[in-house]
Symmetry: C2
């Protein structure tokens, strides 16, 4: 955690990465974390080398999810259910937690299906306002 | 819970309702539970009178979610992430948990945002195979 904290003051990009890295390292079973736009383009991603090249296309899934998330936002507006705050999609091989940062960006955390969802939700809730302040 | 158990042997529809009712009564903050098809049509719904007529259009939201769920299923097939197992959509006024029952139906639980998501996930995990066996 020392190096993560040290990165916070280096620059904007490093700061984003520090938050994403801290989230991945803090959740059992986490494989990757990104700050993404609703257009499906990642601003910054932290994915440990050990999880790259697995059979699951994590980034591909998230690009698709970003489009679905846009639809959920529209649905929420039409149905007066209030803004979308967070979304979880659990598939047999990948568990994905999403938390909205602002109207343009969201933070997304990928975990193994047996990953700690409760801890993930908690850390995304902490990270979102910090990322928002830096955007 | 006595009456819920008594309903189980009355008939197929009553049995569906018994599972839905037991789920709503077992989760703090739950407002409604439905067994729905991916076409957005509810097979059976349990919604306590006290929660009907609130400002949030729970059923309307779920019809929209069923369409989004179909897209998530297609995405999972394309991206080899395995079948979709469960989905959570948290908005400012409504927290919705979805668990797939089979390729045609899913169970959906609506809660207040402060509802107990962990308990909801647990009870849907128990209810899904029972509903599947009766479909």
């Amino acid at each position: 955690m020392e190096s993560v904290r040290a990165n916070i003051h280096v620059g904007v990009d490093m700061s984003f990465e520090a938050h994403l890295k801290a989230t991945v390292l803090g959740v059992e079973g986490a494989v990757a974390c990104s700050l993404m736009g609703f257009d499906g383009i990642a601003v910054e991603t932290y994915q440990p080398q050990s999880t790259i090249g697995s059979s699951v296309d994590v980034q591909g899934a998230w690009i698709e999810y970003s489009s679905i998330l846009s639809q959920l936002k529209n649905t929420a507006e039409i149905l007066r259910t209030g803004d979308v705050v967070e979304v979880h999609v659990g598939t047999e091989k990948l568990s994905t937690l999403i938390r909205l940062v602002n109207s343009e960006y969201f933070i997304v955390l990928g975990m193994l299906p047996e990953g700690n969802i409760g801890k993930g939700r908690y850390l995304l809730r902490l990270a979102a306002p910090e990322l928002k302040a830096e955007l």
